[in-house]
Amino acid sequence: MNTGVIRALVALHVRQVAADRSNLFWLFGMPLMFTVLMGMIFGDMGGGAPEAPEVTVYDESRGPASGALVAALGGRESYRIVVADSAGSWELARSLVDAGRRTASLHIPAAFDADLAAGRTAALALAYDPDRASAQAARTALEEAVLRLEYLSAGRRAEAGFDVARFDSIWRDPRITLEVRTLGRLGEEPPPSALSGFTSGYQHTGPSYTLMFVMMFMLMSVRDVVTQRRNGTLRRLRLAAASPWLLATGLFLGPLVVGLVQAAVLLGLNLLLPGMDYGDSPGTLILTMVLFTAVSSALALCVATFCRTPGQADGLGMTASMLLASLGGLWWPLEVVPGFMQKIAMALPTGQAVTIFHNMIGRGWGLAGNAAHLAVLAGMLAVLLVLAATRFRRLVD
């Protein structure tokens, strides 16, 4: 592969973009305006009261005793209980506390109910951040709930009156042990997302408008390819670049480089917005943006091969970006649309990418949790690259 030709083609695209100063507005100004405006419309921006911090309960026992314990922990104002879903794990729950994204996490092992029923000692584990009042409240509530459960289970049934002897026996020989582990960012402020709800306001508009404008700018560049084809510069490039594959690679990578710079700047500036962070997996963030930007660039090249005039390129590029943005959940969270629309979104690169962002921000998921979505994006990229390269070759040969 002639890397000199590819470097020259990438540099050409960068020069073209840089030559028109109005592109700065389309690349950065317009997206930021939309992000702030729509973020204010969507949520709780900078003025609303934050929701209560979350305590994760990872209940593997799922019996009446563990259920009673979880019920006893609930209904507090200082924190709210989130039962970990099937995709989670105790390690993940603990890591969320460690990262400051949850105030505390409780692990109820699978044998908890069986041990209590058999009269054996049952164990619980609590990971919590002692710097946070909500975590202290959760710990106190847990200790109260454990005591009550022990008291009740020792008597087999609730009885009227207080049995001092029974309480004394529980106190001396507890049948439920609580292993407490201190985690968290001692002395540090927790990240804003740990205090706010699940991807509301800027947490949605920041990433989603970044995705939308990265894709939109690339689809706007379809016009450039069509213009080059019409004014003969593409033929000139073909003569100089030697092979259509090399030329296609350069035309794919040029917009990709510009798109990645645009994404990096926008995602960086988004961090200044209230409540904004991207979770704890920079690798997932980088991989997602690289894959999404590459998909957008391959799509743009593909669309360019279907257009004969700059007018067609504008129309098709704009229509494609509007459809992909709206159907993919970039204009509003996918949670608010009907089920079948959510399924459509998952068939689009926009839907896959924004879901990864939601998982990173709201759930703290990294590469493992988002592996399926990343794989789908990679698959879309492969299909679009093959299609774009094949059609492009027919166009220039």
Partner: protein
Amino acid sequence: MIRVSNLVKSFGDLRAVDDLSFAVGPGEIFGLLGPNGAGKTTTISVLSTLLPADAGSASVCGHDVAAEPGAVRRRIGVVPQELALYEELTAEQNLATFGQLYGLSGPRLKSRVGELLELAELAEHARRPVKGFSGGMKRRLNIMLGLVHAPDILFLDEPTVGIDAQARSRILDLIRSMNARGLTVLYTTHYLEEAEHLCDRIGVIDHGRLAALGDKEELIRQIGEHDVVRVQVPAAALAPAAAAAAAWPDVTFADLRRGKLEIHCRDGAALLPRLQAELSAGGLGLDQLEVIRPNLESLYLKITGRALRE
């Protein structure tokens, strides 16, 4: 440098190039002259490896265009009819981009870009966006982009379309100066005067076929026509003058056309004293006289039956 043998290229039912053969020697400016749609651009596209031929063969600098396209492309520069420029970039950036694509970098690239800007008299405008250039400046830059990698042969496809006479003259001077440095040029045009004044040899092409080939004098000889002398004489003298002229040696035709006496002869200038003497003897004089020498246009009209700018 260029050898074309029985080249054929069709687009559907249209035979754009039809059994075309010619050769161009080193350092020559060879013109392909023909009207729009004659097959000039298609011929250049095949020679520059952008289009495959259906039949026949072509080689450039000893490399077969079908078998060794990479080697051919390294030896040729192509200047398309369109202004194939990046208008938002500066002249310098345009040249640097194509220089990089051809593998130039660093001081070599900088020096080559500077040299071409000087050659095109664009050095003062090197850092201005091309979109602000005049038509002539754009045309000159368009030519320089084809030269950035110092090719041995330059294909110029109607490089003066749409510009004024002064700008055209500068471009023709530019081509001559490049040719003086040893560059071989294949030049297509439908402007007769350009072909006549610029090219060492000319191939007249029509409907994809080579209709005539040679230098200007050879082509005129190929026409086989004589000077045309048109004389306005008093009506009473027309018939006797025509009869007298028809009897002179070297006169192939003498008769009345549109109220004038028209005489076809080998040398119109030599005929005039005789004609004047003949008329004076009868007490008559010449009212109006016109001598038309054969030229490329008359050759072309004879060959194709079409005016070149159609």
